[in-house]
Structure formats: structure tokens, C-alpha cells
Subunit: 201 residues, 2 copies
């Protein structure tokens, strides 16, 4: 790795690539709701294709994955749930409380729909997998999902404030047993429990 690479200022890069991803999130959302006529759509499509070409001229072939900052912190740039650079990610901002609780508050819009006007059950599963997994992560020691069980109590609405939280119930050797849920302002909508594994080095 070159010195130049070690000196990358990630906070500065965030201020460049974060707003780009946020713009694309807005485009994604509006593109699902628009009723624009075919002529407008064709013109907009050309504009988007030209934007893609400009970005592609300097695109790396592989995904951006987890990057390491000079001080050893990891940044999950491209992650499907928390990735600052990934327009598919809502993205969730995770909070880690001193007692081990991991939580996030967020609102999901049109791109996360399953039943009309409700969050896709699998999107709740995606988010719970990530947040339960985050309770098991340790610096430099990622944890992988072993099993995950979801119980859907009722539907989760789009466009409302949601909260996800999770905590560790117990650990046994390389296994961490975690529980958590998604809730709206009326209470829990989806419960989850999972076993997460730290692979032996």
C-alpha cells in the first residue's frame, strides 16, 4: 500500500460521495412514483446514462466494501444497510449504547415496499440481520450470521418513524445469541433472534 493511499482523508471523501448517494436515493424514490410521459422519461433516461458514463470512466471493477481508515477504523462504504455510498441502503445510522444496546431510528419510503404502502417483510429481515449482527461485532473481529429467526406480529407502514434495536442475550465460545425488534410508535411489528459466529482466526 502506498503512502498516498494511507493518507486518504475519509471524512473529506464522505463529504464528496455522501451527497452523491443522497441525490441518487431521491432519484430512486421519485422514479418509482413519477407518472411523467414517455418523452420526459426518455430525456431523463439520457441524462442519467450520461451521468453514469462520467462516473464509470474512473470506476474500480470491484465493489467498495469495507475500507480501513489510517487509524484502523472500518467504514462500510458500500454496505446494503448502513453504506454511506450505497444508494440502496436507507442508510441506517447505528448507535451503540454503553450497555451494549444497538439501535437506529429511520423512515422507509417507496423503494422498500412489499404489500401496498407497507414495508416488505424481507426488508425488515435485512435490517434486523444487520442490527442483531452489529451487537456481536468487535473491532477487527467481524461476526457472521449463523441462524436468524423472524416473527412478524403485524405489518410495518412506509413513511412512519421506525426504530430497530437489538442486544446480546448471551455468548457461548464463538457464538453470540442476540435478540431485537422493529417497532413503530404503536409497538413492536417484527421480532428477531439470531446466532452470530466469530470465525476462528
Amino acid at each position: 500500500m502506498s503512502d498516498e493511499k494511507l493518507c486518504i482523508d475519509y471524512s473529506q471523501l464522505e463529504s464528496v460521495y455522501g451527497p452523491l448517494a443522497e441525490s441518487i436515493r431521491r432519484l430512486v424514490d421519485v422514479s418509482i412514483r413519477t407518472e411523467a410521459d414517455p418523452t420526459t422519461i426518455a430525456a431523463v433516461k439520457d441524462k442519467i446514462d450520461s451521468a453514469t458514463e462520467e462516473l464509470e470512466a474512473s470506476a474500480r471493477p470491484d465493489p467498495f466494501g469495507v475500507q480501513l481508515t489510517p487509524d484502523g477504523q472500518t467504514i462500510a462504504w458500500g454496505n446494503a444497510v448502513v453504506g454511506l455510498r450505497n444508494p440502496v441502503a436507507p442508510p441506517l445510522v447505528l448507535h451503540h449504547d454503553p450497555d451494549g444496546l444497538v439501535w437506529s431510528e429511520f423512515v422507509l419510503g417507496a423503494p422498500y415496499e412489499g404489500p401496498p404502502e407497507h414495508v416488505h417483510g424481507g426488508v425488515s429481515a435485512l435490517i434486523l440481520d444487520h442490527v442483531l449482527g452489529a451487537t456481536a461485532h468487535r473491532p477487527g473481529k467481524p461476526a457472521y450470521t449463523g441462524t436468524l429467526t423472524l416473527r412478524y406480529r403485524r405489518r410495518t407502514a412506509l413513511g412512519r418513524k421506525l426504530r430497530v434495536e437489538a442486544h446480546v442475550e448471551r455468548t457461548e465460545g464463538v457464538k453470540t445469541f442476540s435478540v431485537g425488534h422493529v417497532a413503530d410508535e404503536d409497538g413492536v411489528t417484527v421480532e428477531a433472534e439470531g446466532v452470530f459466529i466469530h470465525p476462528r482466526q
Copy 2:
């Protein structure tokens, strides 16, 4: 509902909105991999914001959800897994075999990343929830996820051909018990079983 609305030609709309979503999927993918400089990013962002504004001028406030065609078929335009109009959806094209097997073959790129260069475990959960659920759907009788259990055997790579499949094991009253898995060319990576419920009308 007006006659005009009843006469919407959905196959024609697919040919307008499908390519737009496909363009945005390419933009999403490239935006995660680009290393373009701040000046280029700013110019591209302006272009994207202008495209969003053009689409927003005629956007409905609510998501597009499930639309009904004149002949009573449902089209999940905005669905997070199969939605033709949803750039967040890969989208999966589901095949329903006469014996009840539901399957799809697909490749996932940068937007679906969890561990570096591998599919986010929660994305596999999202896809399995949808495909297991699809085994339980009947025309006009949607099924909702009751419980879903996932077992992760090993990691699933980005950029490789994947196959998901599911079938019904048994039904008990309003409950359908289904099983399925995600596999790559070397075999199963994630197994799932789920209980899906047809709400009493």
C-alpha cells in the same frame, strides 16, 4: 375509476418505465465503485438532481405498490424484490413451475454487499422471504409472512450466478409451510423455512 384509467396499457408502460429503472440500477452500481474527483462528482450530482426534478413534477405522493391490470392481474411495480420500476430491486424474475416450485436465477452486484465482496446476509433473507412467500400466494389472496427462519451455511459471493428456489411443504388452514434456499454453482449457501398466512377475509 375512470374509463381512461381502466384502459391503461401496462405492457406499454413497462417499456417506458422499465428501461428508466434499469438505467438507475446501472447508476447506483457505478456510483458505489467510482473514484471520480470532487469536481466531476459535483457536476454529476447536479445532473442527477435536475433529472429528479423533472420526474418529480408529475410524481404521485404515494408509492406505486401493486397495480391491477384491466384483466385483473396484479403487477408489483414498486416491490423491493421483483418491482420492475424499483431500482432498489435486483429485480428478480420469478418462475412458477407446474409442480409448485418457484425459482429465479440472478446475479447480485455492489449494491447488495455485506462482508467484502459477499452478499449481505440480510439480502439473502430479503430474497428468501419473497420467494418462499410467493409459493403461498394465490390470485387475489396474498399471503403474509408469519415466521421465517434462516440458516447460513457459508457466504454467498457477489458477481456469481445464484439461484433461489422454494416450494410448499404443507398447508394447515390459513397457514402455508414453505422451504427454500439460495445456492451458487457449488451448492446451497442459505436455507430457509417460513410460515405464511392468508388473512381471513
